[in-house]
């Protein structure tokens, strides 16, 4: 149990460096969602249970535009479809026993927590408890920043051009580079970039990431050598 707590704490700490980026977006989301007519209670419900920045912005915008429930749910489902691949991938290092319950872990499976957990796999320390800690870190940062934004009603103003959103691509560069150890990994990354630029013109963020990931896995299927006898 002590080992589990230590891994959760390490996971929590691992994502502290990106808290400024999360806070800036959380404060902005509080303002946007209030302007769209959502109540503070509705906004915090979204933060606690949906827990997805991109999905919450899309949800809020569609609610404001009076889109149908079916259209909203369909959009959010497509935006988050990449998580299916994260779960399948994580299972390769996540054993059946001695790990957090998968239904609990699932709620905290987001890009960033999956990213730091994969970095731990790369270091030879795979842990579902670490993944849980990373997710909890993001969940806390997101909920606290939106709550503070609601409390102060836009009084905390972070300019749009502050550039704190750049923390996210920077952090994913730092998490991706150590994963690229062979030329075939590099080939997959190059293909993923090409697919991203092609899809970004016609599809939303979620589908673009999903398509790039499928393309990278396609490269793996072609290039990864067969296991020996």
């Amino acid at each position: 149990v002590n080992e589990h707590r230590r891994e959760i704490r390490r996971g929590l700490a691992s994502l502290l460096p990106i808290w400024p980026g999360v806070v800036s977006i959380g404060l902005a989301y509080a303002v946007v969602s209030r302007d769209a007519g959502l109540t503070p209670f509705e906004i915090m419900l979204l933060c606690v249970f949906l827990f997805s920045g991109a999905a919450q912005f899309a949800f809020t915008s569609l609610i404001e535009d009076h889109a149908s429930a079916l259209a909203i749910i369909g959009t959010i489902a497509l935006l988050n479809i990449r998580h299916v691949l994260y779960g399948i991938s994580a299972r390769r290092w996540l054993p059946d026993h001695g790990q957090p319950p998968r239904p609990v872990l699932a709620h905290f499976l987001v890009d960033e927590s999956f990213g730091v957990a994969e970095a731990e796999v790369e270091r030879g320390r795979p842990s579902g408890w670490f993944l849980l800690g990373g997710g909890l870190s993001l969940w806390l940062a997101w909920n606290l920043s939106v709550a503070v934004g609601l409390l102060f009603e836009g009084a905390i103003d972070i300019p749009d051009d502050a550039g704190l959103d750049f923390i996210f691509p920077l952090s994913f560069v730092a998490l991706t580079i150590p994963l690229i150890r062979h030329r075939r990994h590099l080939a997959a990354a190059v293909i993923a970039v090409a697919v991203t630029f092609a899809f970004n013109q016609i599809a939303g963020t979620g589908l673009t990431v999903f398509a790039a990931t499928v393309a990278a896995v396609g490269v793996a299927i072609v290039l990864e050598p067969r296991d020996g006898p």
Partner: protein
Amino acid sequence: MDRSFLIAFAGCVAATYASRVAGFYAGTHDLAERNRRILGYVPIGAFTAIVALGLADSTGELDARLPAVLVAGSLAYRRAPLWVCLAIGLAAYYGLRQIVG
């Protein structure tokens, strides 16, 4: 609470949770080594796409963002911790913004 909000909220939470939990049950821990390696490409593809999107949507800041990404990437290549990559990458980004406007 508005009824249409409630329906959309419940549907979105269910859809999002389903996407997060499905992979944990669709995948398995008992894999052939090659399949294990293939699934290791999921983070490579997804994270590369997130970085590319961050650059594609940078609205006129590419001159500052691309070099900063390269700086952070070269630090990550040398196994620098995440916070170091972020701190120096951001410093490069803000410095370049001053220079290139």
